[in-house]
């Protein structure tokens, strides 16, 4: 029999022998239950010093530990590698006392020297999370007091220091340096290897296909449930319709990134739950405050009062809440700003009359992410709303790199740009700083907002140690920003996941990024 004749026989035999495999809700390997997470985003690197986004950080959080950890809603900072800590009254010196039982996966103890080395490495490589602390912390400000005590002396007081520490993961220097290539501080090796002390270790890393981690049974901090997952497979499923199908068919236990309509459909399906929580990701229509016509504050206010906020919520099938301040509602220091704009055509016309475009007749460019249906609908809403002011809207869909490039310069930054922005910490400085001149050129700084008084308040608030002194400053900052109206303050879209009901232990924390889930507390309780 020749090969071409054998081939069909082989194919038919293969199909017949394998089609009988039923789809299971989760995978079993021996006595371990493996949770399958269908996500759309790759994990190109897991080096904690190099990069973070939701999928990268979900894996980093599973493989590494930090001194402290965000837990719950509203997010609270809990001790982790550090059992306790002290801060000097001027918020310049922070001392952390480490848990003595903490161990890396290879059995080495987690020491203060490992913490020092990890922070120094991130600062030196100056990538990923380095920006969070590099303005305040230099390598020589990190001191090992003893084997289990580490001290950080900042170059200037910074009250937000602790709020960023959860994202600075501790690596095993011995393991990393043993794999260093050409003085790269282990960058190449840490791309798809881990040297952490977290609850999981890497099992399989098939770039572009799936990433599998397995639970460390002897995790130094123990496990919150006896039914904790034995491992997690992050399977790349790039199309939301395919994600939905995977969840319905039982090929995935958790999915993220479904459309608003899809979430509503799967929520009604027996055996599936949809956790639904207000997030901290703000949506705004950023207006260029330095270039005509939106440099005119009255025109900006006219736009803000003409916008239909209720329709904005309908775009998300009601799964969102309107902003009441530049700061998200669950953020410390948030105040509901009195007179926060809501649709009021009479007021919009009043502001327009005071502007240099009293009778309208101006066209505004609205730039949004190409292919993002919700943002396209917002553009249509703008056309309808601003048409009543005789203001035209030109919708310009762009790819994200092009939008970032446009936002980088005041001359090219659009009149209106749709921007989702997620604060990386629970400290109000994380959002307030978006309105500081140092944020110009970043996508969330595309308004090029200018107000020296507000900048002064932001700079002062971040250096004060006592919350009682900081709180009134943030209240004032929020009021003043709204008075200047550098953007149409939109909404906080809910965070949602589709989840099989045998998945237990899910803990939501709004400070995590979009699809990110804390895998540590998850358990599978099969019926």
């Amino acid at each position: 029999m020749t090969f071409p004749r054998i081939l069909p026989c082989l194919l038919i035999t293969a199909l017949l022998t394998t089609t009988a495999v039923p789809a299971s809700a989760f995978e079993r390997v021996g006595d371990k239950k493996i949770l399958v997470f269908a996500g759309r985003q790759e994990v190109p690197t897991i080096d904690p010093s190099i990069k973070y986004d939701w999928s990268i950080r979900m894996m980093q959080q599973a493989l590494y530990d930090a001194l402290v950890k965000y837990v719950g809603n509203p997010p609270e900072i809990q001790p982790w590698l550090a059992e306790r800590w002290e801060v000097s009254p001027d918020a310049k010196t922070w001392t952390f006392h480490l848990a003595t039982q903490a161990r890396f996966h290879n059995g080495d103890p987690v020491t203060a020297e490992a913490v020092r080395w990890s922070f120094a490495r991130t600062l030196k490589l100056n990538q990923g999370p380095a920006w969070m602390l590099s303005d305040f912390l230099k390598e020589d400000g990190i001191k090992v007091v003893n084997e289990h005590t580490i001290q950080f002396t900042l170059t200037q007081p910074y009250a937000g220091f602790l709020s960023f520490v959860p994202w600075w993961y501790v690596m095993n220097p011995k393991q990393v340096m043993a794999n260093e290539q050409g003085g790269d501080l282990g960058q190449k090796w840490l791309t798809d290897n881990a040297a952490g002390s977290g609850p999981f270790r890497i099992k399989r890393w098939q770039q572009g296909v799936l990433y599998e981690i397995e639970a460390v049974d002897t995790y130094w901090k123990g496990w919150p449930s006896k039914d904790h997952v034995g491992g997690v497979i992050l399977k790349l499923v790039r199309e939301s319709a395919a994600q939905r199908a995977a969840l319905l068919r039982g090929e995935a236990d958790i999915v993220e990134g479904l459309t608003a309509d899809d979430y509503d459909v799967v929520a009604k399906t027996p055996g599936i739950v949809v956790p639904n929580y207000p997030g901290m990701t703000t949506f705004a229509l950023k207006m260029n405050t330095q270039k005509a016509p939106t440099s005119d504050a009255n025109l900006r206010k006219a736009v803000a009062y003409a916008f239909d906020y209720d329709a904005l919520l309908k775009i998300y099938n009601g799964n969102a809440v309107l902003q009441t301040s530049p700061l998200p509602q669950s953020m410390r220091g948030h105040v509901a700003v009195p007179g926060f704009p809501r649709q009021d055509l009479a007021r919009a016309k009043e502001f327009l009359a005071k502007s240099a475009y009293a009778s309208g007749g101006v066209e505004l460019e609205y730039v949004y992410v190409q292919g993002l249906e919700e943002e396209r609908k917002m553009g249509l809403l703008l056309i309808d709303n601003l048409g009543k002011l005789n203001v035209k809207v030109k919708m310009v869909p762009l790819t994200w790199p092009n939008m970032v490039a446009r936002a980088a310069k005041v001359e090219s930054s659009p009149d209106l740009m749709a921007v989702f922005a997620t604060p990386v910490s629970s400290d109000p400085d994380a959002v307030a700083y978006w309105y500081h001149k140092n944020s110009w050129g970043k996508y969330y700084g595309s308004s090029f907002y200018t107000n020296a008084d507000v900048w002064g308040l932001i700079e002062r608030a971040r250096t004060l140690g006592k919350w009682e002194e900081r709180a009134p400053l943030y209240a004032e900052i929020q009021k003043r920003i709204v008075a200047d109206m550098p953007e149409v303050f939109g909404m906080l879209a809910n965070r949602r996941w589709g989840m099989r009901d045998h998945v237990k232990g899910f803990v939501f924390s709004p400070v995590r990024l979009t699809g990110e889930v804390d895998l540590y507390p998850l358990a599978i309780v099969a019926k």
Binding site: A14, L15, T18, L125, Q127, T191, R204, V237, R238, A241
Partner: protein, 324 residues
């Protein structure tokens, strides 16, 4: 030709707006961090210097490093291209295996129900968007009927065979891992069918048209008059002569499919070069874009070379030197 392609791709990649260093540094990165990335990858150098450096690297087999994956582009291509190669080759084999006989039958039984149905199938194949078709197949075959998996190359807990050729099917056979081979076949059915349908339709239409013309030729009438069987006339004489335009279409389709699998790869999570290229494009990651373009260009040239050689095999007159 490849050098021209290289120059063109380099120029286009650097003309489009977007700052790769800023995108690689992350949304919150400060100016110093962006500059660190820019310096590390030589993006702060003049364009001419960057181009010369790229060409020098290329001559040494170095395609640069991806800003997104932080891997050597050569390694990334070695990881993703075999998957696309297998998908496209299987899809084309299916298209040829079904398209040519269907075109032939359609021509032989012109204006009968066989011809009508074949033409309906071919029009549908061209008209149905691959994206929609893929999703529908997933919905019906995978979700409702549960006959085949939704996507991916292997089951979640399956381990691919140790690589010999980096082609999953070949490696599974060579290693004797038949269970893995079967799993791979099941995962390949839907993407292969989805990708093959437009090619199948084109091949069928071209083959039908050529067969119709050839069947009217004098030498076919002569062959019939000499008493050769209908089957022999059609398969041995008519089909062979009708194959040259069909082969051109097969070559074009193969080249096009190698560079046009993105939709199918997205729907079925097939870890191929199309997805890799799109991810690189949306993050302005120039080196992978250049690497993928060169690889596809090279493949296109090779496929055309093979097609040209096959002309000579099909029609011996082409092999003979022309007489003036």
């Amino acid at each position: 030709m490849l050098f021209g392609l290289l120059c063109l791709t380099f120029a286009i990649a650097h003309v489009v707006p977007g700052d790769p260093a800023r995108l690689a540094a992350g949304p919150d990165a400060n100016a110093a961090m962006v500059e660190t990335i820019r310096a590390k990858y030589g993006l702060d150098r003049p364009l001419g210097v960057q181009f010369a450096r790229y060409v020098r690297g290329l001559a040494a087999g170095d395609l640069g490093e991806s800003l997104r994956s932080r891997n050597a582009v050569r390694d990334d291509l070695a990881r993703y291209f075999p998957n696309t190669f297998e998908l496209v080759t299987l899809a084309l084999l299916l298209a040829v295996a079904v398209g040519i006989p269907l075109g032939m039958l359609s021509a032989v039984y012109k204006d009968t129900w066989v011809d009508h149905w074949a033409r309906v199938a071919s029009v549908s194949g061209v008209a149905l968007p691959a994206f929609w078709l893929g999703l529908m197949l997933q919905l019906v075959i995978a979700l409702y009927l549960g006959w085949l998996p939704l996507g991916g190359r292997l089951g979640l807990t399956a381990t691919p065979p140790a690589p010999l050729t980096h082609l999953l099917f070949v490696d599974a056979v060579l290693r004797g891992e038949w269970r893995t081979f079967g799993d791979a076949v099941r995962h390949a059915v839907l993407p292969v069918v989805t990708l093959s349908l437009p090619a199948l339709a084109s091949i069928m239409r071209v083959n039908r048209a050529e067969m119709l013309e050839t069947l009217q030729a004098d030498y076919i009438k002569t062959a019939r008059a000499q008493g050769f069987s209908g089957f022999r006339v059609v398969t041995r004489y008519a089909l062979r002569n009708a194959m040259i335009p069909t082969l051109t279409m097969v070559g074009l389709r193969y080249g096009w499919m190698l560079g046009g699998t993105i939709l199918v790869e997205t729907v079925f999570d097939w870890p191929g070069i199309g997805l890799y290229a799109v991810n690189a494009a949306v993050s302005s990651d120039f080196q992978p874009i250049m690497g993928v373009t060169l690889l596809i260009g090279l493949n296109f040239m090779l496929v055309n070379l093979f097609v040209d050689l096959a002309y000579g095999w099909l029609d011996p007159r082409i092999r003979r030197p022309s007489v003036t």
